[in-house]
């Protein structure tokens, strides 16, 4: 296990957190109701906070000696390694909520395993983040249920969101040479082992919400290698603008 491998792994987790936080923060001021607007902004901030910790850790491992701001805000698109689902545009509220459910229910299982990492940073990070994630999962699950067995319109929208996002869930469990080696070393989590439990929970929730589990078997991937959707460039342009226009700006 090399320092570069540890850096690359940390960057993956950091990018997932930052890109989801960035997307969720786009709802600020546009939520369907005042209370939800605040709830989602809180959740977005939880991810920005996690990303900050992860980038700080990555900065310590970086052989190029970049600091956390440089890592978060000045890399090129191909250098970001987040999974594709998290960079997709928010869509309507059903799509945002469904992505929240798919991802947070996975991420909570992931963190529960990361708690046992033999790396002190990751076990501590997991311990702290699990509390936030338990709330995120509850928030998303409740809304999936409310929309699923709500009105005809809400049912239709949340089912469509479930179907459209489904081809992106496979990447959450994707393992490659890097993660296999780190998982074998007790440093990282074997994501593939989480699939069955995740599907079980998802099925139970969908039953309660009167939704049908999607069956599509084909899944997108590429985020871990820096191959992104066409939406990523626009997201980065907005997110990086200040740092690019006024490098090192402080206030």
């Amino acid at each position: 296990m090399t320092q570069l491998q540890q850096f690359n792994y940390t960057i993956r987790l950091a990018d997932d957190a930052l890109i989801l936080g960035q997307r969720l923060s786009e709802w600020c001021g546009h939520g369907p109701i005042l209370e939800e607007d605040i709830a989602l902004a809180n959740i977005a901030l939880d991810y920005i906070g996690q990303a900050t910790n992860l980038y700080k850790h990555a900065a310590q491992l970086d052989t190029q000696k970049r600091d956390e701001d440089a890592l978060a805000l000045t890399r090129m698109e191909q250098e970001y390694n987040n999974i594709l689902m998290l960079e997709l545009p928010n869509g309507d509220y059903a799509a945002t909520i469904m992505r929240q459910y798919y991802y947070t229910s996975f991420y909570l299982l992931f963190l529960d395993k990361l708690k046992s990492s033999n790396d002190a940073f990751f076990s501590g990070f997991a311990e702290k983040s699990i509390k936030e994630l338990r709330y995120h999962v509850q928030h998303a699950s409740d809304w999936v249920k409310r929309m699923g067995d709500g009105t005809e319109e809400s049912h239709k929208r949340i089912q469509e969101a479930a179907n459209q996002l489904w081809p992106y869930v496979g990447e959450m469990f994707g393992m490659d040479a890097l993660e296999n080696e780190l998982a074998n070393a007790g440093y990282a989590v074997d994501r593939a082992l989480l699939v069955d439990e995740w599907k079980k929970q998802c099925t139970a929730l969908f039953d309660e919400a009167t939704l049908a589990m999607p069956t599509e078997a084909w899944h997108h991937k590429g985020g871990r290698e820096g191959r992104h959707t066409e939406h990523m460039g626009f997201l980065l342009a907005e997110m990086q603008f200040m740092q690019r226009a006024y490098p090192g700006a402080k206030w």
């Binding site: 369907p32 109701i33 005042l34 209370e35 605040i38 709830a39 709330y135 928030h139 409310r146």
Partner: protein, 95 residues
Amino acid sequence: MSNSNWPLWEIFIRSKNGLAHKHAGSLHAADAKMAIENARDVYTRRMEGVSIWVVRSADIVASAPADKDFLFDPANDKVYRHPTFYDIPPEVGHM
């Protein structure tokens, strides 16, 4: 913002154990569970609380503002009702 059909809820937050729940404000929610979650996000995001009570605003019975004079004014000149003639030991704390 289209939550006009959702009932209004009054939110009470206990800032720490041992203190009473205090009225923090109100918000809209479809049911009690959602009211608790919304209250968590709206009123406790800066570590204001350890416990939340919610109650439908419609279920609160309030005194009429017009009755203010005969309900409250008579207490004005009854200073002997204040327990200011006792020394409270410091161990007692909040009273």
